[in-house]
Subunit: 310 residues, 2 copies
């Protein structure tokens, strides 16, 4: 697989996902901002706002390259280097508290000793996770099943590694809660190399590319049907209030814990493209409490103790 194939893939996926979401919304259209990075490369930020269904969302691609930022040099213990990073990242915040928020990201990284030099290292990362405000078990099962099938199509051992990795990553440790009901997460998967921290099987670059493509399609298969069936349900002001409280937890995760967000902000990434992930309207009450036995409490139970959905 060449980097150009991955770049084509994320651009096609961006188009497909934006089309599918616009069709669900029926009103709002994505607006595209193309931007250029000072150090090399750029991106296409596509944002939707104030729709029938989607209050705010972004489906962004970026292909950036240049001298390796200090933060990455430190992490990999190299003195110098050149990199290329290509990725698609999306976050969708629906208006209705009965429609879950969703996030997905597929990315590919190449490391060179110098500009135009040979590839010294390369890896893939990705994942998708669902953040409902009210737990609908069939939705959680669908989202996980579709992503499990995508992983299984590449190797039967992947989902059982990526599911707990997702629970571990999207975790608000300061509250002892997961951000949502999870999905899949993988990072730093190098073609033909064993992964350091787990029993993830060795995969070729074609398999890792296939994984990103299958999971990318799974996003549409796993999320659009949930939107379709829940978007017209009536909701109350109290449910909306709860959604805004929970969106606060989403902000907390993204700004305190998310490595991707913090890395982007610390390496002079495009702030508006990075922070498009933040929800449109958010609420923080002091010591907000749910009623025992309520649907809100049922969600918290699952966030405090992630369960198996397939």
């Amino acid at each position: 697989m060449t980097k150009d194939e991955f770049i084509d893939f994320i651009h096609r996926l961006q188009d497909e996902i934006c089309d599918a979401l616009e069709k669900q919304d029926g009103l709002a259209r994505f607006r595209e901002d193309r931007w250029v990075r000072d150090g090399g490369g750029g991106g296409k930020t596509r944002v939707i706002a104030d729709g029938n269904v989607f209050e705010k969302g972004g489906v962004n691609t970026s292909v950036v390259h240049g001298v390796l930022p200090e933060l990455i040099r430190d992490r990999f213990g190299v003195d110098q280097g050149y990199f290329l990073a290509a990725g698609l990242s999306l976050v969708i915040h629906p208006k209705s508290p009965l429609v879950p928020t969703v996030h997905a990201n597929y990315r590919y990284f190449e490391l060179y000793d110098r500009e135009g030099g040979e590839v010294k290292d390369r890896w893939f990362g990705g994942g998708a996770d669902l953040t409902p405000y009210y737990l609908v078990e069939s939705d959680a099962k669908l989202f996980h099943q579709v992503h499990k099938a995508a992983c299984d199509g590449v190797h039967p051992e992947l989902y059982k590694e990526f599911k707990p990795a997702c629970d571990a990553y999207f975790h608000n440790s300061h509250r002892g809660e997961s951000r949502g009901i999870g999905g899949i997460f993988y990072d730093y998967l190098r073609p033909d190399k064993a992964h350091v921290h787990s029993s993830i099987p060795i995969l070729s670059d074609l398999q890792l590319f296939d994984l990103a493509r299958r999971c990318g399609s799974a996003f549409i298969e796993g999320y659009i049907p949930i939107v379709e069936k829940s978007k017209s349900l009536e909701f109350t002001e109290a449910q909306r209030y709860w959604q805004e409280i929970r969106r606060g937890r989403y902000v907390e995760f993204n700004l305190i814990h998310d490595r991707g967000t913090l890395f982007g902000l610390k390496t002079d990434g495009r702030v508006e493209s990075i922070l498009m992930s933040l929800p449109p309207r958010v609420r923080w009450d002091y010591d907000f409490q749910v009623h025992p036995g309520s649907p809100e409490a049922a969600l918290l139970d699952v966030l405090r103790k992630p369960k198996s959905w397939v």
Copy 2:
């Protein structure tokens, strides 16, 4: 000065400030939550909400002690130790976008080699800063003048150190903006010791205690008159919208950059007391822009290039 004197001071100041704020509000009262820390000590969190004037605010004290958390051990390069930390911390978010948000914090720290051991080191920290949504120059001047006078009462060289320190600390580096129009900030001031990073004069413990007391009183003198004169002004929905956008920047600072918040969350501090600083209702729009020449743009100018107010 003994630790008990500092502890008395913060509790008296908490009462005075809560009284003054309740009088301004005229409707809402502070609700007190007393909490106990697992490792030793506890606090009194006092929160006000949904008032005539104040939408959300907290005036908290805590006196905690125990085995030195790993994070502090690492910072000071010690293998073990015992600590006591006493402080008052407040954040007030008014309902009206024409009334500024304010923050203040006064704290004292003692370090021992073991529980009940001799004091090995001790220091003071503190400060106050104002975050208006619309710039009123006379308010900025009053707030700075009152705090300058408090500092000058201890030593004429202090304000000129603490003012730029405040601008440097409360800075959203990812946006190139200050959080607000500043005030004063000082940290790690050890009695009778030279400060490492600046030309701050050597002060005795009595002078440092005096500084905290004078600045604590300055808070009331510097903020209450601003509330008094602005709380009844009519505001528009568009001004409220701008306030909610700016509150998003406040959240970004507190969750991404504020050492105190991150330290509290990483050392298992009481989450609800720490995050009471977050505004009640917040908004993030993609790529929000102000109109050139507008009052909103005038605020941004000052946030991007801090100026002298006295």
